[in-house]
């Protein structure tokens, strides 16, 4: 590993603290799904993805598409920590004239590859990027992160067929499998499991891992990178609202902002968690 596991854990903790502050300050936004995706994003931005924050349009870069765009607060936090822009700017999130729109806007913020928020687009966009890079003989990877509820959108499966049709072996998709959407449990609204088997039937490699465990995540990504023919999906078992006790596994924390008391309590829990990781 380039960064040690504890360093990654500390970064994940910083990301969560930023997300909490951003959503609290805007009094709107999505914490639950940002927290469930945090380790995936940190693995990409701080270990597995090739990019240059000073040259966001560097043609050899790996691309990343946050298909579940509502989790963008966590992506913005990673981008700030990775040097795309200052951490101060994070506090403009969702406010008038900000580059950090409520859902990511590619034309506003360099480093955001595509605009997302409306669910279901991301995999098609990632396919297009992977196809384009192949035409240009560029060997970099294309990553995309989808929600498990998002898999209910038909467009995902239209795209999934295309990824395997074109043998997009440089395409690596994550599914944030937290079994929650807005109205309740994914399994109770419109079950998407078995996710791996579905993707396999669509011609993909499928891997499963604990989406909060950096060792598992990184070894899955590294394995996916070895694929010679097929695109790979990494189905990540996660906890929505991870690391704040009263937010974990609660679909009501999908898209609401905490009040002052809830904010203080959440922040305190995250700070204690951070301290437990050592200096």
């Amino acid at each position: 590993m380039l960064l040690k596991e504890t360093e990654l854990k500390k970064l994940a903790n910083k990301v969560r603290i930023h997300v909490l502050k951003m959503v609290f300050s805007a009094q709107s936004g999505h914490i639950g799904g940002a927290f469930s995706s945090t380790e995936m994003l940190v693995s990409l931005y701080f270990h597995e993805m090739n990019f240059n924050p000073k040259k966001p349009d560097w043609s050899e870069r790996d691309h990343f598409i946050l298909s579940k765009g509502h989790a963008c607060a966590a992506q913005y936090a990673c981008m700030a920590l990775a040097g795309y822009f200052s951490e101060n700017e994070l506090m403009t999130f969702r406010k008038l004239n900000s580059r950090l729109q409520g859902h990511p806007a590619a034309h506003d913020l360099p480093g955001i590859e595509a605009s997302n928020g409306p669910l279901g687009f991301g995999l098609s966009i990632a396919n297009g990027i992977a196809l384009g890079k192949r035409l240009d003989k560029i060997n970099s990877f294309t990553f995309v992160l989808m929600g498990d509820g998002e898999l209910q959108e038909g467009m995902i499966w239209e795209a999934a067929m295309n990824s395997s049709q074109h043998k997009l072996n440089k395409l690596i998709a994550f599914v944030d499998w937290n079994n929650l959407q807005i109205d309740g449990k994914v399994s109770e609204i419109k079950e998407v499991s078995p996710i791996s088997k579905k993707f396999e039937a669509f011609g993909w490699n499928a891997l499963e891992c604990n989406g909060h465990d950096f060792n598992e995540l990184i070894s899955a990504i590294q394995k996916a990178k070895q694929s010679k023919e097929k695109p790979t999906v990494i189905v990540c078992k996660t906890i929505k609202g991870k690391d704040v006790s009263f937010m974990e596994n609660q679909c009501d924390w999908h898209g609401v902002a905490p009040n002052q008391e809830q904010f203080d309590k959440a922040l305190n829990e995250l700070i204690i968690k951070g301290e437990s990781l050592g200096k």
């Binding site: 409520g102 806007a105 409306p118 279901g120």
Partner: protein
């Protein structure tokens, strides 16, 4: 104007629940936004008549059409942008073409949607729905008009679209109010100019009209909740009376209520129609009031637009 504020989506949810008690044929569907559209109230009370199809807006329309074929009266809801946008082609071809009896409700319309940003602020739904033959389009002014419209929609056959808002807005009417398709109502009398608008944004028109009164300018304010069919008689009356019309909507100035009024008047009684709405631009994140100000839809901007055009009259 009372001080009470309630969102039109609340009117939808409360009416749907009540309607469900009265009419066993009513079913409700949503696409994972039941808490936001307020269809969850119906869902809790009548789980066997409520279908959450998940995040799948095309499926939402198709399933509703199927239920209507069996004689049910489906009310399908989501955010305006997703039901009208993602659902568009099925709405046109599977639903409206054969005029099935499905009622659509789109919440979170307009810039008023706020911090979620441009992707979630639907400013083209009136336009999109209006051009579909057989489709009717309604945007209630307040909670009670939304409430009443739901009942009216259940009584009338054919596809209809109800445009709803997320934010709380003033309550004008009460439980006795009855919405009528094709009918408007006058919120304020006036003789120098007419504002014909739809939805909660009319609050700004009323404030502007009050401010103009102080300058001896008298403006009538009309609530055109029935966008299609349009209350043509009232539009014609206003054109004859004041000869200067301002349309007002939290919607693009292209294709919405203002366009509808202009289309009608240009061939019956050519009259100047100034369309006040979202310019031909995407919105952005911000608070509803900040956005209305930035895009020229707040009371002050409306007042200025009216003054400017009256000078030229």
């Amino acid at each position: 104007m009372e001080n009470e504020r309630k969102a039109t989506r609340e009117g939808y949810g409360d009416a749907l629940l009540e309607l469900g008690k009265q009419n066993k044929n009513v079913v409700a569907l949503d696409a994972d936004l039941a808490k936001s559209t307020k269809s969850n109230k119906f869902g809790k009370q009548f789980p066997e008549r409520f279908f959450d199809v998940g995040i799948a807006e095309q499926d939402l329309i198709g399933t509703s059409v199927g239920l209507s074929i069996t004689g049910k009266i489906p009310f399908a809801s989501s955010f305006a942008i997703f039901i009208c946008g993602r659902g568009y082609e099925p709405i046109r071809n599977a639903l409206s073409y054969s005029s099935f009896n499905v009622k659509l409700a789109g919440s979170h319309s307009g810039l008023m949607t706020g911090e979620d940003g441009a992707t979630h602020q639907c400013i083209e739904d009136i336009s999109l729905m209006r051009v579909i033959p057989t489709m009717k389009v309604i945007q209630p002014l307040d909670y009670w008009e939304a409430y009443s419209a739901v009942f009216k929609m259940s009584e009338l056959n054919g596809p209809m679209y109800l445009r709803l808002c997320r934010e709380k807005s003033p309550v004008f009417f009460d439980s006795n109010y009855e919405f009528e398709l094709g009918k408007s109502n006058i919120l304020m009398e006036g003789k120098d100019a007419s504002i014909i608008g739809c939805g909660p944004i009319l609050e700004n028109a009323l404030i502007a009209a009050e401010l103009l009164k102080e300058k001896n300018i008298s403006v009538e304010v009309i609530n055109m909740a029935s966008i299609k069919p349009l209350d043509e008689k009232q539009v014609l009356n206003s054109a004859n009376k004041t000869g200067l019309i301002f349309s007002l909507e939290d919607h693009s100035i292209l294709g919405g209520l203002g366009s509808s009024i202009s289309e009608f008047l240009s061939s019956t009684k050519p009259t100047k129609v100034v369309r006040i709405g979202v310019p031909d631009l995407f919105g952005e994140s911000g608070k509803p009031k900040e956005l209305w100000h930035k895009y020229g839809l707040d009371a002050e901007s409306i007042m200025k637009t009216i003054e400017l055009n009256l000078k030229e009259k």
